[in-house]
């Protein structure tokens, strides 16, 4: 009986932890959504960081050295993202970064 109770407690704890992780990260099967209301990337930048669309998107941007250069930009979208904008935050010390140290 004691073993059963212990197993139950462990089970509840593991399940709770799993839900905690799932809330913090995109779920399995999540798609690359461009919809600001659904897309995880937009949720972070638009809703949590309260950034405006124009901060990242520019209709004048044309980064030619980009493999997916023919990505279709939906009519409602205000232009492609210049990845150099990302560097302003994601290359700074002490902030979440995807990019290494600035190259000399």
């Amino acid at each position: 009986m004691k073993h059963l109770i212990a197993l139950l407690i462990v089970g509840i704890a593991v399940t709770g932890a799993s839900f905690g992780v799932a809330d913090a990260a995109p779920k399995k099967g999540a798609t690359k959504s461009l919809d600001p209301a659904k897309g995880y990337f937009h949720q972070l930048h638009v809703q949590k960081m309260t950034m405006t669309c124009a901060t990242c998107h520019s209709s004048e941007t044309r980064d030619i050295l980009f493999l997916r250069k023919d990505d279709v930009v939906p009519a409602a979208m205000p232009g492609q993202v210049d990845r150099h904008v990302c560097l302003t935050c994601h290359q700074a010390p002490g902030k979440p970064t995807w990019y290494g140290a600035p190259a000399r």
């Binding site: 995109p26 779920k27 995880y40 990337f41 050295l65 980009f66 150099h84 995807w98 990019y99």
Partner: protein, 230 residues
């Protein structure tokens, strides 16, 4: 230690796209998710203009932004092995698109669906191979991200056969794109070996990496035309 790198000489490249075709055949990538793309643009001012042909594939960065993003969301589907090759585990990929968004080179391709390569004409030989019989990097799945692997299935074979010295020389051990270039604009090999052909040529030609400002340490080097974008 062996670390693989590629050199692309845009001064020699004539834009024939043999490398693109070879990659498509070797890795049977779908039209919506190409692993190797030819980008062309003009430099200079009329009448002194030149056309630049710049093929792009995965840069297999030393500090891959795609991997950092993937690790941050907890999927951990992207790895960089001891030979410097960045690979995606399709079984772990959750299709969140973070790697697609963060890569400064636009390399990762989100594959919405696995479509027939020749719609209406039946499956090609490669498509008829059962998933279990394919190399893991060729087990196409919908709603996951895929990209160039430096033809890891070939490199892996060279390592297993203890013939890494033949990488970049022998057909079975060399990435398909580097193999077919008719003007020798592409070279592949061990950059950690200062005596390798690729190391020597990178040094001789003063080849550069693209978009160095991102600090990702790309392992594809380019010999650029004067005025070409870097």
């Amino acid at each position: 230690m062996t670390k693989f790198a590629r050199l692309i000489d845009t001064k020699r490249c004539m834009g024939c796209r043999s490398c693109v075709a070879a990659c498509a055949v070797e890795n049977h990538f779908t039209p919506d998710a190409p692993w190797n793309v030819m980008i062309e643009y003009e430099v200079g001012t009329y009448p002194s203009v030149k056309k630049v042909f710049n093929t792009m594939n995965c840069m297999h960065c030393e500090q891959p932004a795609c991997k950092a993003a993937c690790d941050a969301v907890g999927a951990k589907a992207i790895s960089k092995n001891q030979f410097g090759v960045v690979l995606i585990d399709y079984d772990k990929c959750i299709g969140c698109g973070h790697c697609v968004t963060t890569c400064p080179y636009g390399v990762p391709q989100y594959n919405k669906e696995v479509r027939d390569l020749n719609p209406g004409k039946g499956k090609t030989g490669a498509e008829q191979i059962a998933a279990a019989d394919r190399h893991p990097t060729h087990r196409k799945k919908a709603k996951v991200v895929e990209k160039c692997t430096f033809c890891w299935h070939k490199l892996e074979k060279a390592i297993a056969d203890n013939k890494t010295d033949l990488i970049g020389k022998a057909q079975e051990y060399t990435p398909a794109c580097d193999l077919v270039c008719p003007v020798q604009a592409r070279m592949f090999g061990d950059i950690d070996d200062p005596n390798s052909d690729v190391s020597k040529r990178i040094k001789e030609t003063k080849a550069v990496q693209l978009k160095k400002e991102f600090g990702t340490g790309p392992q594809v080097y380019y010999v650029l035309e004067e005025g070409a974008k870097s």
